[in-house]
């Protein structure tokens, strides 16, 4: 019981990361709830693929990415590896900056001073803490994000207006169609991130999940991701209520948490900041490990935290090296919010590359036997793949056309 509560929490934590915190607030302030439907679609899509990749692991005791190379060959897997590695690597820098920004908001010390401190703490934690303890700590702390849902009520909203905004999936009068579509793609990229899938299935290998854990895994997916989606919509809603009528644009993480401060005072703001800290910190660990998993599984290196670091030297070197590189990149004063938006748009462009092989392996009865995809998994999986393909093709043209969503 305790275990599945925690697994559910880590699914929430995996869903909400810096990309969501930035994109949801930005979208809420400009479009109200007119993009809330994207979150609903994303929750269904990512839940479907997370379940599929965890089921593959339960059946084969190997993570999905591991099987992609043995079933689909090294050439295809290499394309997927390069795409996913680049995007997830960029996200490490964004998440790391997100933790530092949360600390800046709490302490008024500039985030650039926090970046190396956060990186050192991350390094120490991945060195000393076992996998499950790591997940539990940030999973529990991430629960404080629910304060965003409470804030929606405390802002005393005009409910019919919220509902009509959510059920009118067109841009408001002040916005153009290309900008609207650009943020559809941005939200898809922010909410259906491939690293959630890699992390979920590699975590299942490290925790040695077998068929008996199938129910627990499904509960985690079916409760955790929708709760994450609820949080995302709550962030959009509070930004809508506070910023939309005033015409204020969200440009900083401070504006994501500001509505909570307005609704619930200093204490609410503190809780929201703790939530932001936990979510981005957890996501830093998840993105970091995911990049290590991807490359280690492609080349067949030993990986993970079950053995001492010296017995997974190549994996450990990749993870530590990427952390140092991300720290250096963050210290260049590159704007973390801009990097986040670019990272999630690029993430949308590689999404189908990571979905397709999981769908193919999930359908491979020679590998999956009794646990092969059923009709529901295949229908949802195919629809999600189609949506993500359209988003992937439209992402870069829209990025250029709207100049990063600014017009």
């Amino acid at each position: 019981m305790f275990a599945f509560t925690l697994g559910t929490l880590s699914a929430i934590g995996g869903f909400i990361d810096i990309g969501d915190l930035v994109a949801d607030a930005l979208v809420g302030a400009r479009f109200g709830l007119a993009l809330a439907w994207v979150t609903v679609v994303s929750v269904i899509g990512i839940a479907c693929y997370a379940e599929m990749s965890a089921r593959i692991t339960v059946q084969t005791r190997r993570p999905a990415f591991d099987l992609i190379r043995s079933r689909l060959g090294p050439g295809y897997a290499l394309v997927g590896l390069v795409g996913a590695f680049a995007v997830t690597g960029l996200l490490v820098m964004a998440e790391l900056s997100g933790v530092a920004l949360a600390l800046q908001l709490a302490t008024s010390v500039h985030y650039l001073l926090w970046v190396p401190v956060v990186a050192a703490v991350v390094l120490l934690l991945i060195w000393v803490l076992p996998f499950e303890t790591m997940e539990r700590i940030y999973g529990l702390l991430g629960l404080t994000m629910l304060v965003f849902v409470v804030a929606v009520w405390h802002l005393d909203p005009d409910w019919p207006r919220l509902w009509s905004s959510a059920t009118t999936p067109v841009p408001p009068a002040s916005e153009s169609w290309p900008a609207y579509l650009f943020f559809v793609v941005t939200l898809i990229g922010a909410q259906m991130t491939p690293y959630e899938m890699f992390f979920f299935s590699s975590g299942a290998v490290e925790s040695r999940w077998g068929p008996k854990d199938l129910t627990e895994m499904r509960v985690n997916v079916l409760v955790g991701f929708p709760l994450g989606g609820l949080l995302a919509i709550a962030i959009q809603a509070v930004a809508f209520l506070v910023f939309f009528d005033a015409g204020i644009q969200v440009e900083h993480l401070a504006e994501t948490v500001l509505p909570v401060g307005l609704a619930l005072g200093k204490l609410g703001l503190a809780i929201a900041l703790l939530g932001v800290f936990a979510a981005t910190f957890g996501a830093t660990l998840e993105t970091l490990f995911s990049t290590g998993y991807q490359i280690a599984q492609y080349f067949g290196w030993s990986y993970g935290k079950v053995q001492p670091p010296a017995q997974a030297a190549r994996f450990t070197t990749v993870v530590v090296g990427l952390l140092l590189l991300s720290t250096a990149l963050a210290m260049t004063t590159l704007d973390p919010i801009t990097v986040t938006i670019f990272a999630v748009v690029f993430s949308a462009t590689v999404l189908p590359l990571t979905f397709l092989p999981v769908l193919l392996v999930g359908n491979d009865r020679q590998v999956m036997g009794q646990l092969a995809n059923g009709r529901l998994s295949n229908t949802l999986g195919t629809v999600t793949l189609a949506i993500s393909t359209v988003a992937a093709l439209a992402a870069l043209p829209l990025l250029v056309l709207t100049r990063g969503g600014s017009s």
């Binding site: 090294p74 050439g75 290499l78 067949g300 030993s302 990986y303 053995q307 010296a310 030297a313 190549r314």
Partner: protein, 129 residues
């Protein structure tokens, strides 16, 4: 799908684990002896490592991968080989009869990083447990 036994699915690209169950690499390519006219080729060695994989992939990416990997290699000749008779079982993973420590040519980068970088840090554990 038909129930075939092509090496493409049963051997090539599979995960290699040593006698201790430690992941040491993948079957990146295979070495066969020359069967002569009419004979069936016999697999003599498994090739493992990015050098073998790069050679097999070909193209610019493959050449780059092979060149970088060859440059990092400490032993003089070619991609690292594992004699085929050391394979105990390859039903799912490719299990070897020996430990990684008994295969001095395989996973050189792993050993080097372990000995020269990771083991120097406190709490890294023992590379050879």
């Amino acid at each position: 799908m038909t129930d075939h036994h092509s090496v493409r699915f049963t051997l090539l690209d599979q995960q290699v684990v040593d006698a201790d169950g430690r992941r040491i690499g993948r079957v990146d390519d295979l070495l066969c002896d020359d069967p002569g006219p009419g004979g069936e080729p016999v697999i003599t060695h498994l090739l493992s490592g990015a050098e073998a994989l790069g050679d097999r992939l070909g193209g610019l990416t493959g050449k780059l991968m092979a060149a970088v990997s060859a440059r990092l290699r400490t032993t003089p000749d070619g991609p690292s080989r594992i004699p085929a008779d050391l394979v105990a079982d390859h039903a799912d993973l490719v299990h070897l009869r020996v430990r990684l420590a008994d295969l001095p040519d395989v996973a050189g980068l792993e050993r080097w990083l372990s000995a020269h970088v990771i083991s120097l840090l406190p709490g890294a554990g023992d590379a050879d447990q």
